[in-house]
């Protein structure tokens, strides 16, 4: 059974841009990973390569030591549920929801029809409706249904909550946790709605500008990230000592987000206000422009 999905030195080059610049990443079985990054950071490209839907320019992706590209044994254990496009090559996407679910049942070897049917009912989706006629939220729901009902060991969801209202998002998070608790499947979720999903993520992966900025246990990461504010001189002292991001000047005061190294602690003599920082604010500090 699948245990480790490993990416080694993944480079993906398009005509005018390097989308990924030597990414190495290991995903272990039985965790919920959150992948966050700015638009154009390379998240979808990386997820596409990890799921053998795109070929890297160089580097390799292995599942339990076997390369995933064109490897049916590996592909059977990976599901990458992408955002559905209401447009197709011929114009509006006229595939019906029930046809799409039928296609999914043909291709996914562990497809759970019962679960798919119950999710369709739960989300109140009209399966006779065409993809082009679905709202953005409904498209997200169909994506979620395919991901959950695929029962793939490694299930990747690319912005699954885009377009969902807050009630539907809470439903999704609950469904995900229930499925995770029942099956122990590995989920990789990329999202821009960081604050809501942060509690779900056992590990967070931050992608920035084609590189993995960090990959760490969420709680451990947040335990070493703080926002400090105080007089400019005191903050400047801290900036020189520790890894500081997103420095803000507020008149004679200053603020910054400090990311301590593991085991590092701030000296108690510093006369500054120290506050824990949320994952979202940490992400903005790390990836936002100064």
């Amino acid at each position: 059974m699948s245990n480790i999905l490993e990416c080694k030195d993944i480079v993906k080059r398009f005509k005018d841009k390097d989308a990924l610049k030597g990414v190495s990443l290991t995903l272990e079985k039985g965790k919920i990973y959150g992948m966050i990054g700015r638009n154009g950071a390379g998240k979808t490209t990386l997820l596409s390569i990890m799921s053998a839907q795109s070929k890297p320019t160089s580097g390799s992706v292995n599942l339990d030591g076997e390369e995933v590209w064109e490897n049916q044994k590996c592909i059977d254990n990976i599901c990458f549920s992408r955002e559905l496009n209401p447009l197709s090559t011929f114009g509006p996407n006229n595939v019906k929801v029930k046809e799409l679910l039928r296609m999914a049942s043909i291709y996914y070897p562990y497809w759970d029809k019962k679960m798919a049917d119950s999710l369709v009912k739960k989300f109140d989706i009209n399966i006779k409706q065409r993809i082009s006629k679905l709202s953005k939220g409904m498209l997200s729901m169909v994506t979620i249904i395919i991901a959950l009902a695929s029962k793939s060991e490694f299930t990747i969801l690319d912005e699954p909550v885009a377009g969902l209202d807050v009630v539907a998002r809470e439903q999704f998070y609950k469904l995900l946790l229930d499925e995770y608790n029942e099956t122990g499947r590995t989920f990789v979720i990329s999202t821009h709605i960081i604050e809501e999903a942060a509690d779900l993520f056992e590990e967070v992966i931050i992608v920035n500008n084609g590189n993995i900025l960090l990959k760490e246990n969420t709680m451990d990461l947040l335990e070493r990230a703080y926002h400090v504010s105080g007089s400019a001189d005191d903050i400047n002292t801290l900036i020189e000592k520790y890894e500081a991001h997103h420095v803000e000047n507020m008149g004679r005061s200053k603020g910054a987000t400090i990311l301590f190294k593991k085991g590092e602690r701030m000296e108690s003599s510093q006369d500054v206000m120290v506050q824990p920082v949320s994952l979202q604010n940490l992400f903005v500090a790390l990836c936002g422009k100064e």
Binding site: Q72, D76, R82, S88, T89, F90
Partner: protein, 210 residues
């Protein structure tokens, strides 16, 4: 047989069967209208049936439909199919249609003196030629979207016009009535088809899902 290959056969058949069902309904309604307008069943000649089999298999029935499944490659690859299996399933079905159609038309040629071997060889060349054009057009549609589709429709119109009017005019040239010309065309079409299939595989392998 590989599970993914069978999945692709199932999927492509599912897509094609929907269109076939529409075509069969159309053909039945058309035939009924013809009979209602006074045509007798005995007026339907062997040549009519030969043409119908060729027309349906090539243009409407299967070859175009199967090859146009290139338009579905994004969704198929997204659902976890290997590119190799999609390619093999598509051409397995295409060649099945070509072989069955060639066998049916060949059988009719053998049984009925009214259908000449020259006509049969031209039929084979046409079937292969249509497949070549459709492979190229399918990739053009995938790359250029609606623009490619419009160009495809123009090409179909041109081919239809050529077959309807141009062929009759050309057949006044005696050389075209010898068996050598259509045989050479069939061999050429086979070679070109192999090249175009290789290109199709190359484009599929380098296809980026966006």
């Amino acid at each position: 047989m590989d599970r993914s290959f069978i999945s692709n056969i199932k999927f492509i058949s599912f897509i094609v069967m929907r269109t076939i069902a529409c075509v069969i309904v159309f053909d039945v309604v058309y035939l009924l209208l013809m009979l209602y307008s006074g045509m007798k069943i005995s007026e339907i000649s062997v040549e009519n049936v030969y043409w119908m089999v060729q027309f349906i298999a090539t243009f409407v029935f299967l070859i175009i439909q199967i090859t146009l499944c290139t338009a579905y490659q994004k969704i198929i690859l997204t659902l976890g199919s290997r590119r190799k299996d999609f390619f093999m399933a598509k051409y397995f079905l295409v060649f099945a249609v070509i072989v069955i159609t060639a066998a049916v038309l060949g059988g009719m040629t053998y049984v009925y003196d009214s259908i000449s071997i020259v006509k049969y060889m031209y039929s084979l060349a046409m079937i292969l030629g249509v497949n070549i054009i459709t492979i190229l057009c399918a990739n053009m549609i995938e790359k250029f979207g609606m623009t490619g589709y419009i160009i495809f429709c123009v090409i179909c119109g041109f081919i239809g016009g050529f077959i309807g009017g141009g062929v009759g005019a050309l057949m006044k040239y005696k050389i075209l009535k010898s068996v050598m010309v259509p045989t050479a065309l069939t061999i050429l079409a086979t070679v070109v088809m192999i090249i175009v299939m290789a290109l199709d595989k190359k484009w599929l392998d380098s296809y980026e899902i966006k």
